[in-house]
């Protein structure tokens, strides 16, 4: 049992994790990473669907050019939290947000939303390629944001498809319909499409949950390749995936951030009992 938790034993009996704030880490080096100028930062974020409060006072900092994972049982709010970063929650009726979310120090609510989404891209749980050709799918982002010249588009498409490890498979079929690709290919296409606008941050909402293990492995490999050029934030149900892929991990439960630390710490020496219980499979 984790020695750090002993002194919180009394609190534990009254559902302690509901009362505690996030603990920030043990390593000085990683402290610098997390506490230094973060790419994304949330402060006291509350989120409401109508009268339901889905997120309670979330505060954390996501370091730049690292991979961060959010884990937790179904319905704990991790996807909701992810979607606040590119303001996708605004598409829902009766959704309200309180608190601050900053991108590079700027409040995202004060930015123009299209501009925000160019800097913070998203890949969804189920691949959603447009019913257009492979080329037109990847070129969609640049086209819609002003790139017109054919040579520019061709270059962006090729670069993005290469980064998504899909180029070799589709280079001779760029004008075929995207819907003819396999599930795994479609998801890599969606990643390529998101990368085509060269985002600073890529949000991935359970990107592999609808895929088989081989397709999942391919995507994890590609995430490994792009991690150095892009800040990645992944929501995942799969703890092993978080352990494989992420530098930092946040554990969510019932709309609260329970613990946020380096992946190594979360999985080997979690500071909060609830985290340990989740990791070891006692619930969730």
């Amino acid at each position: 049992m984790n020695p750090n938790i002993k002194n919180q034993a009394s609190v534990k009996s009254e559902a302690p994790w509901l009362a505690q704030k996030a603990i920030v880490e043990s390593d000085k080096a990683t402290a610098a990473e997390i506490n230094g100028s973060p790419k994304l930062q949330a402060s006291g974020l509350d989120f409401f669907y109508g009268n339901n409060q889905a997120l309670h006072g979330i505060s954390l900092r996501i370091p730049a050019l690292k991979t961060t994972a959010f884990i937790g049982p179904s319905g704990c709010g991790k996807s909701t939290f992810l979607r606040t970063f590119n303001r996708m929650n605004e598409t829902l009726r009766h959704a309200r947000m309180q608190g601050e979310v900053l991108l590079d120090g700027e409040n995202i609510l004060e930015m123009e939303v299209s501009q925000l989404r160019l800097r913070v891209g998203m890949v969804f749980q189920r691949s959603n390629p447009f019913p257009k050709s492979v080329f037109d799918n990847v070129a969609y982002g640049p086209r819609v944001n002003g790139t017109r010249r054919k040579s520019d588009l061709e270059e962006v498409v090729e670069t993005s498809l290469q980064r998504a490890a899909l180029w070799d498979e589709v280079k001779d079929h760029l004008h075929k319909s995207a819907l003819e690709l396999s599930g795994g290919q479609q998801q890599r296409l969606c990643i390529a499409r998101a990368m085509a606008v060269d985002p600073e941050v890529l949000l991935l909402d359970e990107p592999c949950s609808a895929l088989d293990p081989i397709a999942t492995a391919k995507i994890e490999e590609l995430l490994f390749q792009i991690r150095n050029s892009c800040t990645l934030v992944i929501v995942t149900h799969n703890m092993q995936q978080a352990a494989r892929v992420a530098d930092f991990t946040g554990f969510f439960l019932l709309g609260k951030l329970i613990e946020y630390d380096t992946t190594k710490t979360i999985f080997e020496r979690p500071k909060i009992q609830a985290t340990e219980d989740y990791i070891t499979g006692r619930f969730g």
């Binding site: 123009e112 790139t147 520019d152």
Partner: protein
């Protein structure tokens, strides 16, 4: 060679900062313009309908003032004397509609049951396609068939009919071809496809578990249909009949071509008659004088109100059935 637009991490902040205001302005305007455009069109439709009601009301004012409610009970239509009463046309419209419904309902509901419940799916789809083609036949073409094909056929059948039931007042008198009876048959042709396709959809909206529960208990296909599905869909089928009725009331061309255009109420179905839509079609361009025109517009107003009420009731009934099915 990378185009100037493709961004790198350094170039990003400055490009966006300067572009933001322009982009903001442009996007906001386009979004607002788009919203204004589409909501304007939606509002336009409401305005058009209100305008339609208004024009009918305003242009029938003369006739409404002069005749009041007597308009609906007067049996005279005498343009020369300036006496206008709607009764002959109401009679004609009602009788042709009732006749058409009597012919089309059994045939139509029967066919709908066959297509929705009993027929194998591929046959059902093929036949439904053909029924939908029948619905697409223009009224004037049915009228064409009515004049040159149906009436000659009826002229052979009716004497036979008369020899059997000619003692009934509704089948008495000479038959000249054009008549309320012919109009009713032709109208039946027109509303048949509507009854079939709407009833079929209503029947199909019954949830599968309903049928399967009956079949699992050993019912035959017909028994599951008759005892379970039809009671479920009954309201919707009645709704489809209402819709067909609304259509029949306003049906103009086919009826006008075979009804005989005689503004007299006769006991026999074999006599010529006149419907509301037909008199408007025939006399509108010949109407001399404001009162004449206004009387015709008042008839149109009657049609308008009738079809709205019946259509509204019909949609409600159909909606109720589809809601039951959880669609």
């Amino acid at each position: 060679m990378k185009a100037a637009i493709v961004i790198g991490p350094d170039a990003r902040p400055s490009r966006r900062a300067s572009g933001i205001i322009g982009l903001l302005r442009r996007t906001l305007n386009m979004d607002r313009f788009a919203y204004g455009l589409v909501s304007g069109c939606a509002a336009c439709i409401i305005l058009l309908t209100v305008l339609l009601a208004y024009e009918l009301w305003a242009n029938s004012a003369l006739s409404r003032m002069k005749f009041g409610w007597h308009f609906f009970f007067t049996n005279t239509w005498d343009p020369i004397a300036g006496q206008f009463g709607a009764l002959p046309f109401i009679y004609g419209t009602v009788t042709t509609t009732v006749l058409a419904l009597l012919l089309a309902i059994p045939l139509g509901v029967g066919a709908a049951i066959f297509l929705a419940e009993l027929a194998p799916p591929r046959i059902s789809d093929a036949m439904t396609f053909l029924i939908e083609l029948l619905a697409a036949v223009p009224s004037v073409i049915i009228g064409l068939i009515g004049i040159f094909v149906l009436i000659p056929i009826l002229q052979r059948i009716v004497p036979v009919l008369k020899s059997v039931i000619g003692f009934l007042p509704i089948f008495s008198g000479p038959f000249y071809g054009v008549s309320i009876f012919s109009a009713g048959v032709v109208l039946a042709f027109m509303i048949l496809p509507f009854i079939i396709s709407i009833s079929r959809e209503v029947l199909l909206s019954a949830p599968r578990d309903l049928r399967e529960a009956a079949l699992a208990l050993g019912a035959t296909k017909w028994e599951s249909t008759w005892q379970v599905v039809i009671p479920f869909a009954r309201t919707g089928i009645i709704g489809s009949i209402f819709l067909a009725m609304a259509r029949a009331l306003g049906e103009t061309m086919a009826v006008t071509m075979v009804i005989g255009n005689s503004p007299k109420i006769m006991a026999s179905l074999l006599a010529p008659g006149y419907s509301i839509a037909s008199v408007i079609a025939n006399e509108f361009t010949e109407a001399t004088g404001d009162l004449y025109l206004s009387a015709l517009v008042e008839l149109a107003l009657v049609l308008f109100c009738l079809t709205i009420v019946i259509n509204g009731a019909a949609r409600l009934l159909i909606l109720m059935t589809e809601k039951k099915g959880g669609r």
